[in-house]
């Protein structure tokens, strides 16, 4: 009946980025935005004394390009928009009823953004049918718990990619009855996410995920 909490380093509100409309009139997409939040988190950590991420200062560069090193901004500048747009192209986000959608199997192509900028690597794991798997939850949980690093997760039914910064769990013993009764240990598990909605809607969501995207310094 008591939750155990784990948090990634830094504040969830340090990357309050939001989607915007691309040149075709479609939303830029949550997949590319989630990677942007995560990459800029890493860069922000590198520039603010996180020894684990300190060597990876090139994750964000001047105006989102490939030039001089600067610390990733904590507001949505034109440079951040440039990063989102570049990753949107990398992960082949497409337009469907005005929304930017990205297949989970294309999400790993965000590594193209990293190439030439930083030695940071990324890994993705997913269920193509949008079914939540305990193993995927554990990838994201381990990133937060063991490395203090947020992770991209997938919520709803293939519907949204937020970035998980926190993880909470508790176990309870309950009695279940169907024909006969038995006692069972059950678990409540939640991720605290940055939804990528400009800082709005950041909240606890059920920790059932069909996608886990991690970055490693």
């Amino acid at each position: 009946m008591t939750y155990t909490y784990y948090w990634a380093d830094g504040s969830v509100s340090n990357q309050p980025y939001n989607q915007f409309t691309d040149s075709s009139g479609c939303a830029i997409g949550c997949g590319g935005l989630a990677w942007t939040i995560l990459f800029c988190w890493g860069d922000h950590q590198a520039g603010n004394g996180n020894s684990y991420w300190a060597p990876r200062w090139g994750l964000y560069r001047q105006d989102g390009g490939r030039g001089a090193n600067v610390v990733a901004p904590t507001t949505q500048t034109a440079g951040v928009d440039n990063v989102v747009t570049e990753i949107h192209d990398d992960v082949a986000t497409f337009c469907i009823t005005g929304q930017g959608a990205t297949f989970p199997w294309d999400m790993d192509q965000a590594r193209n953004y990293l190439s030439g900028r930083t030695g940071t690597t990324l890994t993705t794991h997913f269920n193509s049918f949008g079914v939540g798997e305990p193993t995927l939850r554990e990838y994201a949980r381990d990133s937060i718990r063991d490395r203090g690093t947020p992770a991209v997760i997938g919520t709803g039914w293939l519907s949204h990619y937020p970035v998980a910064y926190g993880y909470a769990w508790q176990s309870r013993v309950v009695r279940k009855c169907f024909v006969f009764c038995w006692n069972e240990t059950v678990y409540d598990r939640f991720f605290y996410v940055n939804q990528g909605w400009g800082g709005a809607g950041n909240d606890w969501v059920a920790a059932s995920t069909w996608f886990a995207g991690e970055i490693h310094p």
Partner: protein, 140 residues
């Protein structure tokens, strides 16, 4: 919206997707809460559990068949919210035993929470209301 009535009428439809998403997110936790409400929450013998208090001024007592196994004490931290710690005696139980925690707050508000004590070695279905007694009575 022209009136409060119009707003109330439109509210459900307007917020239906958001409400459905919230219900989806909370589904698993609600199922567990329903089980706890119906049967109580289990505590293993030899272990403790804390129940957060809704007000700082509160009194607690325990009743039920398992009350003799249970001790409660008020826990007050400097910054943390006050809570009641329930400690269940370290004793092997043949079957789970139920008890209720009654909390009366300074404002007069009252909470009645159901629990059951259980050992890791307690056999499943050993309680009389388990339903398995039907088979036992019929010798199956």
């Amino acid at each position: 919206m022209k009136s409060w009535q119009d707003l109330k009428k439109a509210y459900t439809d307007s917020f239906k997707p958001l409400l459905a998403d919230l219900a989806y997110q909370a589904r698993s936790a609600w199922e567990i809460d329903d089980l706890v409400r119906e049967f109580g929450e289990g505590i293993y013998t030899g272990q403790t559990m804390r129940v957060a208090l809704l007000e700082r001024e509160a009194a607690a007592e325990v009743s039920g068949e398992g009350a003799h196994l249970v001790e409660v004490r008020l826990v007050e931290g400097d910054n943390a919210a006050p809570s009641i710690e329930i400690a269940v005696a370290d004793k092997a139980l043949d079957q789970e035993v139920s008890f209720e925690l009654h909390i009366v707050y300074g404002s007069g508000m009252r909470e009645d929470l159901r629990f059951f004590a259980v050992s890791p070695t307690t056999r499943t279905n050993s309680k009389a209301d388990s339903g398995l007694s039907i088979f036992e009575e019929q010798g199956q």
